[in-house]
Symmetry: C2
């Protein structure tokens, strides 16, 4: 790495943790770190801790003079205003002017967007969506995020909040979302939280024998369900089938809306591989009208999970040049 090469900082704020890194123009994450989001009830404390971590990384990278700017991906992050607004999965309520707070603190230009939009930019620049002009990025993590690219451009919408596919209603009057108070959203079913709730519900409502009955209810998550499913556990397989049915229907709806070349999936749930992908594909195709059938690819991001969000966020900083 040349001492003169400019660098950018990418920050990915998630409901649980925040990842950050220093990235070069070729998409190499040179230095990176992680901290808790959840424990900071106050945004000020969060930014103070982040400042400490970034300071160390910037020093290692050769000083602040090499850093062109900071890109931030966050749930409900608004590209136009630089504010995080009413993010149901973050500890800070209301409207947080995070871009301004960060640029005041770090003395660098800060660009903000929705975390899934940042991931979509990362995939378009460095990942599975390279060269695509129409695709949808869907992140299946603690929540469900999405970034929509059409005509080669990220869709921000009139107010900067486009791409909240996770909050679209898939089951009318369905499961209550604790963060939003709304019923039946995709996120209530196809997120890590959703899979856990499905598992708990199915265990409660069935008397079927299952490896999951031995699991600790507090730590029961999609990994535990996965481990049971690969051993052939019927209930665990049903959980994936149910999740894939809902996710597949939501993907079909998204396809009929913006007709992408591919849907790129990313995040914890994709680690379950075909257990989740097979039912998802099947139900997606079943819900598509003929003109859309058998032509939209479902791809799993091949970027390292820890890097992808940082890469995407950092790309925002280059864009701003």
């Amino acid at each position: 790495m040349s001492v003169h090469q400019p660098l950018a900082i990418g920050i990915d704020i998630g409901g649980t943790g925040t990842k950050f890194g220093i990235v070069d123009r070729d998409g190499n994450v040179l230095f990176s770190g992680e901290m808790s989001t959840k424990k900071h009830k106050e945004i000020e404390g969060f930014i103070d801790e982040l400042d400490g971590h970034l300071g160390e990384l910037i020093e290692k990278a050769g000083g602040i003079g090499r850093i062109r700017g900071i890109g931030v991906g966050a749930p409900n992050g608004n590209f136009y205003t630089g504010t995080i607004e009413y993010a149901p999965n973050l500890p800070w309520s209301g409207i947080i002017p995070i871009a301004k707070m960060m640029s005041d603190k770090f003395q660098l230009p800060v660009t903000l967007t929705n975390d899934a939009n940042a991931a979509a930019i990362g995939e378009m620049m460095y990942g599975a969506a390279k060269g695509m002009r129409d695709f949808i990025m869907i992140t299946l993590g603690t929540g469900v995020g999405s970034g929509i690219v059409a005509n080669g451009q990220l869709i921000y919408g009139h107010d900067g909040f486009a791409g909240e596919l996770g909050h679209t209603v898939v089951i009318p009057d369905g499961r209550m979302h604790q963060g939003t108070g709304k019923r039946g959203s995709l996120e209530s079913y196809a997120s890590a939280t959703g899979v856990r709730l499905t598992a708990l519900e199915m265990l409660e409502n069935s008397t079927e024998d299952s490896l999951l009955r031995a699991a600790d209810k507090d730590t029961l998550d999609s990994k535990v369900v996965y481990d049971a499913a690969i051993k052939g556990d019927k209930l665990a397989l049903e959980i994936f089938e149910f999740t894939g049915k809902i996710l597949g229907m939501a993907l079909a709806n998204a396809i009929m809306f913006s007709s992408p070349e591919a849907i790129i999936l990313f995040g914890g749930l994709t680690k379950s591989g075909d257990l989740i992908l097979k039912p998802t594909r099947k139900h997606m195709e079943e819900n598509l009208i003929q003109v859309f059938q058998n032509k939209v690819k479902i791809l799993v991001s091949h970027l390292k999970e820890s890097d992808a969000a940082i890469l995407g966020a950092s790309a925002l900083a280059w864009d701003k040049q």
Copy 2:
């Protein structure tokens, strides 16, 4: 009108009828006409009849030398390929190379798109969406069509078929759509056909007294339901409430996807005014997460229904210049 002013032809092909007209650059429909789509089981006969009608209009307008081109809006019309593909509401099955067939016949350049996309272009050039960069056009006619504009551009998707909001699933395992064989689509509920089916179902499943019980079942349509509802008929009001509940939910989902400034409604169902708009707005807001609430306008197209589709289609011909 100057004898030298160039003109364009706009054609709107619907499941029941086809409208066509000759339009100047300012959006004045100078001459127009209408014919049946439904009665033509063969596309060749349809084009022959259309050729006869257009010939007369072109003569009136001063001859073919003044016509710059033809724009066509049709269900499942593909902008990229000029073909109508597997349109469930048209009498012609499979893939119809209609742009080529028309340009061979009429000896004029022909541009095709989805009927709702054409309507969106019409609204953007001459109607309620003038000056907007992000909006969704939804046509509530025999079927439900949509055209999505983001960043000031119509979203065609990778294959030219974006905007099929009418076929998105709103009620999983819901009502069967006769044309597509799929269950629970928006079109099965929020179209003229859908309202009729809801009315027939409600009459069947309830014993409640209603003015609709006296109606002829074969001609029972949203107009009949409207006439009963304004007289305070409880069942008729329930039909609008039910339709608005589903339409409102679908609008909320579309908003959370592309975050438009406004949704522009067009077509027969909008003639019921507040009877359909009030429950639609209410359920739309109820299903939106906070960040989207109370900021997206629902507007009813103020273009003359007979003109709007022709105007939008004709705009395609100017675009091609």
